[in-house]
Amino acid sequence: MPRLVLSGLTKAYGRLTVVDKVDLTLEEGEFVSLLGPSGCGKTTTLRMIAGFVDPTGGTIAVDGSALSAPGAVVPPERRGMSMIFQSYAIWPNMTVEENVAFGLKLRKLPREEVKRRVAEMLGVVKLDKLAHRYPAELSGGQQQRVALARAIVVKPSVLLLDEPLSNLDANLREEMRFEIRRLHDEFRITTVYVTHDQAEAMATSDRIAVMNAGRIEQVDAPHLLYTRPRTRFVAGFVGRTNLLEARIEGGILVLDGVSLGPAGQAGLRDGPALISLRPQAMTIHDAPPAGDGLTLEATITERTYLGESWDYVVRPNGTNLKLRAAAAPLDAHEVGRKVWLVIDPRQVAVVE
């Protein structure tokens, strides 16, 4: 039985629908991110799962029992979940230890057990030496660890995280990303993680649900989301891409009269189609490459050096297309040079 099932979950404020018929299923122990730009409804979805926002429609079920249906909602305190907030929400009037023990005490566990489990948990997040400090005496990263410990120590049925890393600086953010994944691998708690940062979602998640304008556009494993985006929005939001008008003729993708080979996905009809071509799907060569890959003659029109890579804009000869292509730092080509562009057809995706 799946751990968490959202079906047709909807939230509307008056005529404005912020979450629109969201369906999502999480298996036990799964880590799923809700990824999307601000205002896409991901936080509202999370807060509906938590019980802080009452849905207008649809249901939420945990382990098969309904927590929320229109007009009848279980309050957050009886959902057996826990949550990590954007502001951490560490209570400044309690020590680290008291913060972490709060949920266990509410569960009426014997005092020795509370003590033992808090100590264990603080050890796991490497805060054992700071147990008696107050939050004001902790750094941002340490506060974040307290929030993690406080949420995980109660072994929630579902763990919810609301942009937990957005207040940290870049280095710390990267470190905490792995910390969150490590804790998940250790405890296997079913987790819903809200973020607008795709790198964060990629690094932590088993699956990512990309949201836009209140709807889920695609749910997939991170690498599939990148190589096989299903909609224009997903292709553009996850990584950079070239969105191109092409045609499908007899199952073959044709771009400006150039055949790109058979379309990868099944069930596509002939006619106009939008394709996503990743900059990393192309390689640029000074001379005609050997081998029988898909090769186009092209001209470099712009270039930008980004340190980790070159960002070229190339125009296939005989077309007006502008394609962005990435190249390694040592692959320098002058603007105006004629080059040969090799496209990996496996990384071409037809999107809606």
Binding site: G80, Q86, G103
Partner: protein, 571 residues
């Protein structure tokens, strides 16, 4: 960590109705009783015949039918304008000096402004009678001794004298308004004018002052309104000087036979003027682009004044002398004197006045106790009510929560004296017959100072992130448990601050109290006024001294527990 633990109990029943709905209804009821009821009753009474309750316009004809009553209205408006003007002249240079310049003695100036703010205005008035009474006032005695002249140099029993005394205790409002606006302006605004060739004086006049114009005007309006609603000083100085104003005239309508309906009709313009001007003030302060809200990030440097800083400091010292040091000194002298006119000599010293008040006077100890517990009770009611309303409004728990907030803020635009008449009209007589009871006064004080408590609670709750509470709830604690364990401890200090401020203003409240006290419920302020009418200034001064000691003890506690400037924070 291999233990299995039952997750927090699963849904046993579904939530249909939040208990907050019932709370909302209770709060609406409380606010109607405290705010809307008295006001509506006053309005109704103003259109009724006293005996029969028939509808009539007669009360308005009576209230405005005599030249004397119309003169009082005109006097009030003039007095308000004059006091506000003097206050502004006093306060703006001080605010500029403290906020923007390198004037010495800023700490001293702050302390003096705070002292002028804390001192009940009627005590200042009494002090100034001792200083500038035409015959035996200290200033005139010294003047006669020095110049040999017959005529007095200054006379407090005049229109300007009264306006001056009022201004000396209202100017802190302008000071706080203007200073907090000046504090927001970054020095770069002035630098930009300097680099284009503007000197210090031009820059101040053309750039700095215009940026804070709305605050100056806002402070001016507030003082105007405070003045026209003020009872103590006009009664203590104005009645002997035969200067009649609206508040003293209202008081006369309450002398036997009590004509509440005429008083109600006569108070309506006071209410309308206040509501209108507060609206104007809000509009002024809300105009964007005028007030500089952007400067906060910028660097702030003090303007170097050179020798001029001593001129400004001199001004601050002068104001401090007139508003605080001199009145306090003569009050203190009188309170320890056998006869205050005999001056500072050892054989004139006595503790008689205090001894008389504390141990022999039939009313004073009782009035002191009344003041303490009325203030404490009304502060508690106001803070609890304000806290609940602010919680519902800030956390958006109810769809029409703002209605509660509006009612809680409404007394801000009701002059205290009007509120007192409303309470009298609504609750003094049958069916509740609360006249002369402690409850009536406590409720009136609580209603009158509800906006102070509400503004305070609102700011306090805003400062506690809602996620603090949500974090407790998702871990399994109910809303009330979360409030008790998480929110309440975080609010403690600022709520205490709000409670103390309400306590202090309630303990010196006179204009509302004078209409509502009965023989057993006299407060210190009312008794002080009664003693003034008897003209025994030594005893009056001693009683004022006791009141000041109580106030200062509370202020001291507040500074220690809440922070140095908890009284002067602008809401």
């Amino acid at each position: 960590m291999s233990d299995t633990v039952a997750p927090a109990p699963r849904p046993s029943r579904l939530r249909l109705l939040e208990p907050v709905t019932f709370l909302w209804i209770a709060l609406i009821a409380a606010l109607l009783v405290l705010v809307a009821g008295p006001l509506l009753k006053m309005l109704v009474v103003s259109f009724e015949m006293q005996e029969t309750g028939e509808f009539t316009f007669q009360n308005y004809l009576t209230a405005y039918g005599r030249q004397r009553y119309l003169d009082a209205l005109r006097n009030s408006l003039l007095l308000g304008l004059l006091s506000a003007a003097i206050s502004t002249i006093i306060a703006v240079p001080m605010a500029w000096a403290v906020s923007r310049t390198d004037m010495p003695g800023k700490g001293f100036t702050w302390a003096m402004v705070l002292a002028a703010f804390i001192m009940p205005p009627y005590l200042g008035a009494i002090g100034w009678i001792l200083l500038a009474g035409p015959n035996s006032g200290w200033i005139n005695q010294v003047w006669r001794a020095l110049s040999g002249a017959e005529a007095p140099l200054v006379n407090v029993y005049t229109f300007t004298g009264m306006a001056f005394v009022i201004a000396l205790h209202s100017f802190p409002l302008v000071f706080i308004f203007v200073k907090s606006a000046l504090d927001l302006i970054s020095s770069e605004m002035e630098d930009a004018a300097n680099i284009l060739g503007g000197g210090t004086w031009t820059t101040m006049r053309r750039v700095t002052l215009p940026l804070v114009w709305p605050s100056i005007l806002g402070g001016f309006i507030l003082i105007f309104l405070e003045t026209i609603a003020l009872f103590g000083t006009p009664a203590i100085i104005g009645i002997p000087a035969r200067i009649n104003v609206v508040t003293t005239q209202l008081w006369q309508f309450f002398e036997d036979p009590v004509r509440v309906e005429v008083a109600a009709a006569y108070a309506i313009p006071l209410l309308l003027i206040t509501v209108g001007l507060i609206g104007v003030q809000r509009l002024l302060l809300a105009r964007k682009g005028f007030v500089s809200q952007t400067g906060k990030g910028g660097e702030r440097r003090e303007v170097k004044l050179g020798p001029w800083r001593w001129v400004l400091f001199g001004w601050c010292v002068l104001v401090a002398m007139l508003a605080v040091v001199k009145p306090l000194a003569v009050l203190l002298q009188a309170s320890f004197a056998k006869a205050w006119g005999r001056g500072f000599s050892l054989d004139n010293l006595t503790l008689r006045n205090y001894q008389f008040l504390l141990f022999e006077h039939d009313m004073a100890p009782h009035a002191t106790w009344n003041t303490v517990w009325f203030s404490a009770a009304s502060a508690t009611i106001a803070v609890v009510l304000a806290l609940l309303v602010a919680y519902i409004v800030v956390r958006r728990l109810m769809r029409f929560g703002e209605a509660l907030g509006f009612l809680a803020m409404a007394p801000f635009v009701i002059p205290g004296i009007v509120m007192a008449i409303g309470f009298y009209a609504a609750y003094a007589g049958p069916p509740v017959s609360l006249y002369g009871s402690a409850l009536l006064i406590i409720l009136a004080f609580a209603a009158r100072f509800l906006p102070i408590a509400y503004a305070n609670s609102q700011a306090a709750i805003r400062a506690v992130h809602p996620e603090m509470e949500e974090a407790a709830r998702i871990l399994g604690s109910g809303r009330l448990h979360a409030i008790r364990r998480v929110t309440a401890p975080l609010l403690k200090t600022s709520l205490l601050g709000g409670w103390l401020v309400v306590f202090i203003v309630a303990s010196r409240e006179l204009s509302a109290a004078i209409f509502l006290v009965g023989p057993r419920t006299r407060t210190m302020s009312v008794l002080l006024y009664d003693l003034t009418e008897q003209g025994n200034f030594e005893v009056v001064s001693a009683f004022g001294g006791i009141l000041l000691v109580i106030t200062m003890a509370i202020v001291g506690i507040g500074m220690k527990l809440v922070g140095r400037d908890f009284m002067l924070r602008r809401e």
